[in-house]
Amino acid sequence: MHIFCIFAIPLLMMLGALGINNIRVLGRLNAFGYAVILGYAAFLAYTLKQPLVLFNFFYIDALSAFFLFVIALVTSAAALFSIEYIAKDLAAGAFSQKKAKGYYLLFNLFSLSMFFVPVVNNLGMVWVGIELTTLASAFLVGFYNNKASLEAAWKYIIICSVGIIFALFGTIIFYYTASHHAGINSLNWTDMAAGAKNLNANIVKIAFLFILVGYGTKAGLAPMHTWLPDAHSQAISPVSAMLSGVLLKTALYAILRFNVITNICVGSQYTSRLFILFGLISLGVACLFLLVQKHIKRFFAYSSIEHVGIISVGFGIGGSLGFYAALLHIFNHAVTKSLLFFAAADVVKKYKKDNMHIIKGVVNALPFTGIMLVLGMFAIAGMPPFSIFFSELLILIAGFSKGAYAVSSLLLLFIVVIFGAIIFHLSQILFGKKPQDMPVGREAASSKLAFIILMICMCVVGFRVPAFLHSLISLAAAVLMKV
């Protein structure tokens, strides 16, 4: 029943956004609501022993609970960060009060659609949910309504819609072989996974290709990634964090569900090769662009492509360790990248510039955010003791122990080059003096809290995966291993 609370709260908050006029109060209420959601999601994940089926429509197993938890974590951090961000933008006259209320309305709609994706059983409804995430976030990408953000929003919605049409094509082909060859007249994942052995192997292979390309567009896999840097850099910053942190992951979730069916039907080698191929292409593309990118939010956007690539390679390597490591990396990347987008938002607001080579002396100008930005960049580059290092290492271990030497070496090479790129850009930001006339900035307590929560997640998981998360991810990996 907790799942209904998770749906009810954003709906209530949407009503609140319509009714309440004081933006700061609205923001606080919103953040409180998402804290409750996070509690429910954690409780659901913690108590889930058996897959939960409601009305034959919702189906929640460990994999769903894991994604739900990650989405809840990132959205609640974003809600917390939004309070000051929106209030300040409003005070600075970047948009009207009506528009600020619209922001909270769309924010809730967006997160509602993301909560919907991992808990429905019907793969057609998963598609509907993912399409809704695009529609709900399109206005948030084009929120500032200037030329650049409109361009980004248009590209975002068009490219993702095309991608997602191919995904629906794949879904229909899956349904065709299910109804014709296995006699399954439903699109429910449970039914299809149960009867997957009877599907036509040839058709399933073609259908999975459509699914991977289609949802892969939304997940930011290269070469279908072209919308991603634009949308991430132009979106309003708390939303950039949500796009990068969890939106990409919901699309990956959809691919994983089909991956299970395909693996049962044709064996894991086929999907594993495809995952590795797209993962390595993404890493290569991201690697090239990261070396030369100076725009701070675009830089983090390309870094998201890199990490989606790493996750994809992790799924490709597979095995219980590979799946475990990839899922852990999803969590780590969501947390770290959200922190970075928040920090970038504060820095850009302070300096009114987004070129990393012009922004100097961040730590002096913004002592708290600056330190968070620097630590976050070390973390995203894969420095110990942060969590990203740990999950990247696990993926590499899984790869080498499975004998995928070429793939693992390539992965290692890309990670090393990107490490160099990130440290190079970081040194530009870190050193140098802040402009003389710039006052030292202070952050509001709510924003600091958002940073601290995310930072704790990064550090704790880096030292030792907490028992709760460990068992959740292990169970989720077991769902993926189902044969």
Binding site: G124, A148, L150, S161, V162, F169, Y175, I203
Partner: protein, 212 residues
């Protein structure tokens, strides 16, 4: 027999849309294509005596034949933009590419997919090529409205697959996809208005400030 006529109608209308030079003609082409899709769905609904398919057919008629074309034509009229599509590839070459895409879909269906039923193979090849031609229209024309139409053509191809091969998807999915499509057309329409106000044109090839 009727099935083949309607399938042919859909294909011919798609070729027509590859050739046309002006926006209203393109939108009307889409309307005719949807009409053939509607007739085909109605025929199948009657043949299988399937109540849900009747509803789907009704929705196709209401949304794709009436509402969406009306909405798009209104946008074109309201923004008072030059009605030419803006070609990256001239109509003759586009038609040739369309024929090539048809042949490739045919090859893909009969050499790779290997469906047992001949009728289903034909309709699959057809819907695949309609989808691809929709994508082609999106890529090789300049105006933003054309991209919306291209998206809708792709979706028509998709519905064709669902209807002819699976007898429609589960009802709730079908319903929600229709709703989704309708919302997305409206949202895209809003963006076209905004782009037109801000840029004073709707040529998507000129939206190129974000790079690298």
């Amino acid at each position: 027999m009727h099935t083949y006529i309607f399938l042919l109608g859909i294909l011919v209308m798609t070729y027509f849309m590859m050739m046309v030079k002006r926006l209203p003609a393109l939108i009307n082409g889409f309307r005719w294509q949807s009409l053939f899709l509607f007739l085909l769905t109605l025929l199948l609904a009657k043949r299988e005596a399937d109540g849900a398919l009747y509803v789907v057919a009704g929705l196709i008629f209401l949304l794709k034949v009436v509402l969406v074309p009306y909405f798009l034509l209104r946008i074109v009229k309201r923004i008072k933009v030059n009605e030419n599509l803006g070609f990256f590839m001239n109509p003759q070459l586009s038609l040739l590419s369309g024929l090539l895409l048809t042949y490739l879909s045919y090859l893909f269906t009969f050499k790779v997919m290997l469906l047992a039923d001949r009728m289903q193979s034909v309709s699959f090849a057809l819907s695949l090529c309609v989808t691809l031609m929709g994508l082609f229209i999106m890529i090789f024309r300049m105006k933003a409205v054309v991209q919306i139409v291209g998206l809708l053509v792709m979706e028509n191809g998709l519905f064709l697959t669902a209807v002819t091969m699976c007898g429609g998807m589960p009802f709730i999915v079908e319903l929600s996809t229709f709703l989704d499509i309708f919302i997305s057309v409206i949202i895209l329409g809003v963006f076209v208005y905004r782009i037109n106000t801000l840029f004073t044109h709707i040529d998507v090839n000129k939206l190129d400030s974000l790079r690298g």
